[in-house]
Each structure stands twice: as C-alpha cells, then as structure tokens.
Symmetry: C2
Subunit: 206 residues, 2 copies
C-alpha cells in the first residue's frame, strides 16, 4: 500500500522552501526588485538550484501568485456564509481582515500585481473574479431591493471592503510607525476588525 505523503520528497521540500522564500522576497522588493540570488539565499540554497526547480524567475513568480490566488478565493467564499445581508458582509469582511493578518505577504504581492496592471493574473480578473463579482453584485442588489441595505452600487462596496482590509497588510509598516513603532498586537487588531465591520455595516445597513 502506497502511503500518501509520509515523507516529502527532496523535490517537494525544496520547491516549498523556494516558494516561501520567493513570497517573502517578492513581497518585500516587488517582481523586478527581487533577485533570484536573494530568493535562493533565503531558501538556503545556491542560485543554480533555484533554476533547477524553476526554470525562470517569472515561472517562480507565477507559482507564487497561484498560491496567493487560492487564498483570495478561499476568503471570498465566506461571502456566501449566510443569506442574511449583515451576516454575509460581516463574515466576508472578517475573513478578509484575517487573511490580511495571517498572510500579509500574499496580500502585498496581490496588491502589487494589481497595481502593475495585473500582467500575470489578467485572465483571472476576466473570468473568475468577474463572475464572482457578478454573482455577489446580484446578491447585494437583492438585499437593497428587500430593504436590508441602503442603495449603493455593489462594486463601490466591494472596493471599499477590499481596500480597507488589505490596508492592514499593505500598509503594515506605516500602521506600525503610527503605533509607536510596534506592529498592532492581536488585541489591537481585533478591535480594528470589529470597528471596520461596524463602520461599513453601519454605513450600508438600512
């Protein structure tokens, strides 16, 4: 009987180390600013080994972006936690806040990719994201029609949620500076999360 992942192969271990190192370096320096030498060093191996597992820097970046994209989709699914407007929006905002907290590097890479004009994930924007938005726009419009939410263009609401939650990852350094030089601790972050939920819901709930 073949066991499933009893012990990772050398290939699996090295690819994992490279992907995690790449996430750190791409998040810190951007695609152009990241060097394969820095990524390899971060993963604890010589530069040539990186190219053995990932032929090109762009290929490695694509692999990192795929991981990031899965995290985004996973958080997005919490929008459908409930048919109740406030519950669904709360769950979604909390999930996005938690994602920014748990995976700040992924959040930054995502934002940087969007800011660059999404050269790698354009097809995702055109397909999966467009469909996701279309479906949830319909839900928001139903809630508005049912008198649960104030009239608002759903996309304006989505953009506000995306921007505000990602801010806690993207601007973590600025936030830390304004927090006396220390990153937000768990208590401060939970307070911020509650206040973000309360403010957005307070702004849109009818």
């Amino acid at each position: 009987m073949l066991e499933r992942k009893p012990r990772p192969t050398i290939r699996e271990e090295n690819e994992k180390a490279l992907l995690e190192a790449a996430e750190r370096v791409f998040a810190k320096h951007g695609f152009a600013g990241a060097t394969t030498a820095a990524i390899a060093r971060n993963a604890g191996m010589p530069k040539a080994n990186l190219h053995y597992y990932f032929a090109t820097k762009e290929g490695l970046y694509r692999a990192v972006i795929e991981r990031v994209l899965n995290a985004w989709l996973n958080a997005a699914s919490s929008f459908d936690a409930s048919e109740d407007a406030c519950e669904a929006l709360s769950a979604y905002i909390c999930a996005k806040m938690d994602l920014a907290r748990a995976m700040p590097l992924a959040s930054r890479i995502w934002s940087a990719e969007i800011m660059r004009g999404a050269p790698i994930i354009q097809d995702f924007l055109d397909t999966t994201l467009s469909q996701w938005v279309a479906k949830r726009e319909a839900a928001v419009r139903r809630w508005i029609a049912a008198g649960k939410l104030k009239p608002i263009e759903p996309k304006v609401l989505f953009y506000m949620i995306w921007a505000t939650t990602q801010q806690y990852a993207n601007a973590a350094h600025e936030i830390a500076t304004l927090n006396g030089g220390e990153p937000l601790d768990d208590a401060a972050f939970e307070r911020a999360k509650r206040q973000v939920v309360a403010t957005i819901l307070g702004g849109v709930a009818a």
Copy 2:
C-alpha cells in the same frame, strides 16, 4: 526689473520633463523595474542627459517622491475645512478621492513606497505624518465626546479613508476590468465619490 519666471530656463524645462516622465515610469514599473533609459526616452532625451540633471536614479526618485508628498499634504489640509465633523470628513474624503482621480500616478508611487516599508520617506512618517495624525486624532475624539460621531479609534477611520480613496488610483486597472474594460468615466467616478462619502459618514456619524 527682473521678471519672475517669464520663460523657464532650459534646466527648468528639462528637469520638469524628467520628473514627469519619472513619475510615469516609476508608477508603472516600481523603483527597481524602472530604468533610467526608459525615463529618459519618455522625457525625449538621451540617457546621459538624465544623469546630467539627476546624478543617480535614487536621487531622481527622491525628487519625484517629494512632489507626491506635497500633493498628499495639500489634500490633507482639507481635513481642516470645517469644525463640523461631517463637513470636515466629507471635505477630506472628497479631496482624497479627487487626488486619486487627478494624480493616479502619484498615488500609486506613494502606495508602493509605503508597501516597500517607506525606505525613502520614513522620516516623513516619523515627523510630519505622525503630527498630522496626532492633531486630527484629537479632533475626532472631541467630535466623539461631543456626540457627533460614534465611538471609533480615529486611526481605524483614517486607514479606511486612505485605503478606500487610494483604491481608485491603485486598482484602476482592476476597476476598469470590472467596468467592462473601460476606466470609470467622470459621472461614474462622481457617483462612487458620493457613495464613499455617504457610506463612511453613515458608518461613523452619531
């Protein structure tokens, strides 16, 4: 009698052209991804001329960042447009939205600099921005004490405003994709601005 700027000197004209070209290229490709050759070409001059006016790429970047910083401070001043909570916040949000619309390149450079950990503008965060925040935090707390606003940590409110307004510059490409491939026209942008103001004020006004 010496006239004041009747005709810009060659130096002034070329520096201006370079700064504007640099803003475009840095906004598009980030600091590391921007090449001095591309900036010079964009400004319509050979690469060597760029280095005649700005010795190093980083020096040119610093000069660009200073322009961006002035734009930020200018928009920030509209927070003090009124002693009334809702008027002040409305004016500030509108000014930030207009800034994102009028100067998307500057907004993107600013966000990218923050995301990188503010290597160039750290001293601005420590001094001017910290003071700006401290003073306006006090104003928000007074409004809360006076019953004009719901209780909220002022920084949570500022982060929401900063993130949401900058989203319209930073994610312009994503927004265009979700708008059928076309950037928001003026009417759509004005609607978004009104809704952002209404939602945030609805969320915090007592």
